[in-house]
């Protein structure tokens, strides 16, 4: 019987059925970071257990690292304490740690792929909801809580109920100035922030066939913002070409065997999907959020919703709550909204191609007066790639501060924070109240090039107009 990739990976990793009907699922790759793992190590110690497969556990530090300070101790003592704790835990349990001194540190969801640790047909877990990113490679990747991190540390497995699969086809051609970020913001807008509950999303169609791995990662990354526990793309030649020669990729004779095996995991023609959604690529425009969740989004040419024109009580209330927080005018165009900060980076859009695209168009332009603009590479390797191409200089000449790798202002657990009710044009993934470090700070999510357009004009802008893109 034809099967989906999800089913094949699930079956290959199912250990047994537990008493409550859930599956004990083998987790082949466990990624950890400093924020959600310390308590889990504490629990493992308290129970007198060990780490079951230290060689399949990989750590890095990303959430709390200052992007303007390399030397320790960090000015923030709590951040330093978390750093020390992770270092101690990795040493004690024999876990590979991509520390800042290694030159391989970065956001966990960028490090896994660039090291070749993320591979097709595997299961991955990490105490971070954006673990869905790794699905871009045809892996089934779950964000988990700390008690489950304990479970994976101690048993290399976890208890989980099987998900349904929703196939999402995006077909046709994206218009100029429309990016992977717009595709996922559009999907979340259509399917809802909890539309994916109980599902894994399988993304496909010719748009995904042509997408680079970095574009696929951007889409899979935000699956969780649509409520889906996992999101993936079937592995193909693009996947294999990306993985070839990476440090943890199979080498020599075992490479060919691995590719054959990886191919076998792709969804079979005619397999069952619990739901299918079809999207026409030409319908997707540059998309920006206006509210306080990623589903509250509109195209750059639309107006901010007006709650008085909405009849559903619930929707009306959420629009009112969002607009009160965002201090935006109902019915007004979103274009032209003044910004204070521009943030380029995050596990959604902090990879080489993101900075390349911005540099290509921002060269010779200047960030508007009064706008604070920061560019934060997703990993030390991304930083070096950018610097070799001189992208850092182009961005710096335009007025972006070029920082060192980390999560930075996506969630502001480090010193990069909004102040007061500053409004930030952001390439990150969440626009929740207070997300970027100020309890009244405001976030508008968009693609990196739209962030660049907002940065140079000082307000939310249409990148197609600002950079004269043909459309």
């Amino acid at each position: 019987m034809p099967k989906s990739l999800f089913e094949k990976v699930w079956d290959a990793h199912s250990v047994r059925t537990l008493a409550n009907g859930q599956t004990q699922l083998l987790i082949g790759t466990h990624l950890i970071h400093e924020v959600t793992s310390p308590q889990a190590f504490g629990m493992v110690r308290d129970l007198g257990l060990k780490v079951a497969m230290p060689h399949r556990t990989f750590a890095t530090v990303d959430h709390i690292v200052p992007t303007d300070q390399f030397a320790e101790p960090y000015r923030d003592e709590l951040a330093q304490a978390m750093m020390n704790e992770l270092r101690k835990n990795c040493a004690e349990f024999g876990i590979t740690f991509f520390d800042r001194a290694s030159g391989k540190q970065g956001i966990v969801h960028i490090v896994g792929p660039e090291q070749g640790i993320t591979q097709p047909g595997t299961t991955i877990a990490c105490g971070d909801s954006h673990t869905s990113t790794h699905g871009a490679f045809g892996a089934i990747a779950f964000g988990i809580g700390t008690t489950q991190i304990r479970d994976v540390l101690a048993t290399q497995s976890m208890a989980l109920g099987k998900l349904k699969v929703r196939r999402i086809n995006v077909t046709g051609h994206l218009r100029p100035g429309v990016y992977a970020k717009d595709v996922i913001l559009h999907l979340i807008r259509i399917l809802g922030v909890n539309g994916g509950t109980g599902f894994a999303y399988e993304y496909g169609g010719d748009v995904f066939d042509r997408f680079t791995m970095e574009e696929r990662m951007t889409v899979c990354n935000m699956s969780i913002e649509g409520g889906a526990r996992a999101g993936y793309v079937n592995p193909d030649e693009t996947t294999f070409a990306y993985l070839k020669g990476r440090p943890y990729s199979p080498q020599g004779a075992s490479w060919d065997a691995a590719v054959t095996r990886w191919k076998s995991f792709a969804s079979d023609a005619g397999c069952h999907y619990d739901d299918v959604v079809n999207i026409n690529a030409a319908d997707i425009a540059p998309t920006v959020t206006w509210g306080i969740n990623p589903g509250q989004a509109i195209s750059i040419r639309e107006s901010i919703p007006d709650p008085t024109k909405v009849t559903a009580v619930d929707e009306k209330a959420s629009i009112e709550e969002a607009l009160a927080y965002m201090k935006l005018t109902p019915g007004a165009p979103i274009k032209g909204t003044k910004i204070d900060v521009a943030f380029l980076g995050s596990c959604t859009n902090g990879r080489l191609s993101d900075f390349q695209e911005v540099a290509r168009f921002i060269k010779g332009r200047k960030v508007a007066a009064g706008v604070k603009a920061i560019a934060v590479p997703g990993s030390q390797i991304v930083a070096i790639q950018c610097e070799k191409l001189g992208l850092d200089k182009i961005l710096a000449e335009a007025g972006f501060e070029w920082r060192s790798a980390g999560c930075s202002m996506c969630l502001a657990m480090n010193p990069d924070k909004l102040i007061g009710d500053q409004l930030c044009a952001s390439s990150s993934n969440r626009n929740f109240k207070g997300r970027q470090g100020s309890t009244t700070g405001r976030t508008i999510l968009m693609s990196p090039l739209m962030v660049a357009a907002a940065a140079v004009t000082g307000s939310i802008a249409d990148a197609r107009e600002v950079f004269a893109l043909n459309n």
């Binding site: 959600t36 105490g127 964000g143 479970d151 048993t155 619930d314 929740f432």
Partner: protein
């Protein structure tokens, strides 16, 4: 490691209205700079409960009449966003023993269940009924009956749902899976043998 069999939670309730209440709102990221979960309870809903100067804002959890509530009620898509277990930990450490909402985000639901804190869903209309009863009499006992899948308050009762796997785990005292997972270690290792990428 015998775990409590959680068949029902009985206590006073408090209704925190709103949909899509995310885990950043439940526990803002800056309070996650910690290496234990101790003390998280006092930061529950901090930024919507407190002003910048630390004084109270209007919020149900700040009202004296709701102090000591152990059942938290809210709207749709409760607990969306980040996978941080700090969110259910903060709710539990604040003193809650059960959460009732129209529906829950998936990771949050799993995290709560693993802590032995039932997440029960009920219809919007029924949650409104319970909220109205609590508003009228904050002392009213709210019983979240996990086994019977109903919520009783005063002389009323409404239907609730606790998903089968979670209900089984709670009612039978196996909500923390570690024991069972450890029992499956031999099977796990056998399964791993067949997967080339797991070779040491």
């Amino acid at each position: 490691m015998a775990l409590a069999k959680i068949t029902q939670i009985a206590g006073r309730g408090v209704y925190v209205p709103g949909n899509d209440i995310d885990t950043d709102r439940i526990i803002p990221a800056r309070f996650m700079k910690c290496v234990t979960f101790d003390g998280l309870g006092e930061f529950l809903f901090y930024d919507v409960r407190k002003n910048a100067d630390g004084t109270d804002r209007a919020h149900p959890l700040n009202e004296a009449r709701f102090k000591g509530a152990t059942v938290l009620l809210s709207g749709a898509n409760f607990g969306c966003g980040s996978s941080r277990e700090h969110a259910p930990q903060a709710i539990q450490k604040y003193g809650f023993r059960a959460v009732v909402a129209e529906n829950f985000a998936e990771i949050f639901f799993g995290n709560c269940t693993t802590l032995g804190m039932p997440c029960a869903t009920a219809s919007r209309a029924d949650i409104a009924k319970i909220a109205a009863a609590i508003e009228k009499n904050p002392q009213i006992e709210v019983v979240v009956d996990v086994a019977q899948q109903e919520i009783r308050f005063g002389d009323q009762s409404v239907k609730a749902e606790v998903r089968a796997a979670a209900r089984d785990a709670l009612v039978n005292g196996r909500w923390d899976a570690i024991g069972e997972l450890l029992d499956g270690m031999t099977a796990m290792k056998a399964k791993a043998q067949g997967l080339p990428y797991l070779a040491a």
